[in-house]
Amino acid sequence: MLNLSLQQQGLALRARKISSVELTQLYLDRISTHNPVLNAYVTVDAAKSLAQAQAADVRLAVGAADPLTGIPIAQKDIFCAQGWRTTCGSKMLDNFISPYDAHVISLFNGAGAVNLGKTNMDEFAMGSSNETSYFGPVRNPWDIKAVPGGSSGGAASAVAARLCAAATGTDTGGSIRQPAALCGITGIKPTYGTVSRYGMIAFASSLDQAGPMARSAQDCALMLNVMTGHDARDSTSLQRDKEDYARDLHRPLKGLRIGLPKEFFAEGLSQDVAACVQAAVAEYQKLGATVVDISLPNAKLAVPVYYVLAPAEASSNLSRFDGVRYGYRAPDYTDLTDMYEKTRAQGFGEEVKRRIMIGTYVLSHGYYDAYYLQAQKIRRLIAQDFVEAFKQCDVIMGPTSPSTAFNLGEKGDDPVQMYLSDIYTIAVNLAGLPGMSIPCGTGANGLPVGLQIIGDYFKEAQMLGVAHQYQLATDWHSRAPQGL
């Protein structure tokens, strides 16, 4: 049952071969067994999940089920869910019980999916290893000494370890794709504006985008069908016709033009990762695709540009955490300013404070033009590179991450080293394009390698088809960690 696709689980539920309560309990039992080691979930509330499962069973019994009705989904703890503790991985929100639902949560509720719990994450989604969470690091089920990636590391670990049927994630600079790669699962960040950000705790609003993390491209398509759609409560939510993201899954690859950016295969990429990505491209050629050499000359600037723009937006977004209306407040203070300063110093972790400070500095008087405006101009150059590239190819492929999962503590106290682990994913967020990661092999240490697929704006269905055809021909996506 645990290795069945979402579609197969849905069929089993609708055929009454298993009830949603039984399926939910199966996952809850696995969480009890494995979460003490993996730490993938921050909050599990069996009573709430089982109540939703019971309601789903009623819906299934009367034949009013949607494709995901009764299926247990793990929600990243960045999504506000009414009555659920919603922490965003921070001490600041340790005691925060959300009074409302994020749009994504209400869509899953409407579809009859079961909220299986809230997954661990880097604090305020700032990190690439899940080590910045106030609730402790998540472990990679392929090797518990290794990180799962971040910031959606709890989601990736939970999907890989079969502690949920599928999960939600968010991606500001690679936070769906990099952990998907490091944990050997499939994840897609859709075009910016496709999934509503309402109730999704903001990090960098011009880059944040939610998406699914699951065991296959086909599962991701079913998840996206639920998650997307216009929402008037998010001013950047796009008004587009509802689409079926599974419509191109069976389209043959003959004639597909794959662009390989030379900058993604340059210095800094591990040999074992390069070998797996090249083998995957060769497999695509066998399936009828052709390869085009392309160039993204400004892609190398994505990391510096991102570390101006994202902290700038974060410093503004996180100014709301002041100890007045919700969340943590310091116990002792002398006056209002002292209360703000102590609340924020005690409530935020080191990485979050670091990024608030970078953002505050680059937006401050005298530096705005040199940093913020310059970064926004280079952002346009980076986006234009993609526009040029997509004149020559249908999808772009390359590595998701420069290496397989590294060990906990390995990147130590050097934030710059950590930032560089998102070197291939960040440009996609800056351009607002859809990007995904699928498993395509194992590296020298036996850990999973991810193939990144970047599509043109709104080409998610095509990308999912491209991924699905590979997953029909190979079995990397269906491999599971041993010992679980």
Partner: protein, 108 residues
């Protein structure tokens, strides 16, 4: 060939001083002791070295890109759409009294 824009070069060449970090911490409303300021200074300087790679790019004539989609601001009717949930919201506040959020006295 790399084109340097002299003005940016000058701004980027500056390294952060202890006073800079103190000022940033104050603007960001983050209490920091002397040791934390020193540690932050070292780490922020490393990050700004990374950011300084931007200086080599000639961006004259390039329009800043603030968003992935070029959209005009969406507008809606000026009507109340949210229900009043004062009690639900105040139930999770650190300190409330008589329906008001309590903070330390601001005006003497």
């Amino acid at each position: 060939m790399i084109t340097y824009w002299p003005y940016y070069n000058k701004v980027f060449a500056m390294s952060l001083t202890t006073q800079d970090v103190q000022k940033i911490a104050r603007l960001a409303r983050l209490a920091m002791n002397q040791a934390e300021i020193e540690a932050a200074r070292a780490q922020l300087s490393g990050i700004f070295e990374l950011i300084a790679e931007m200086q080599a790019v000639d961006t004259r004539g390039i329009a800043p890109m603030s968003h992935a989609q070029e959209l005009s601001q969406q507008l809606r009717e000026d009507v109340v759409t949210e229900a009043n949930q004062r009690e639900a919201f105040q139930a999770i506040a650190p300190q409330v009294e008589g329906g008001l959020y309590l903070v330390p006295q601001v005006i003497e």
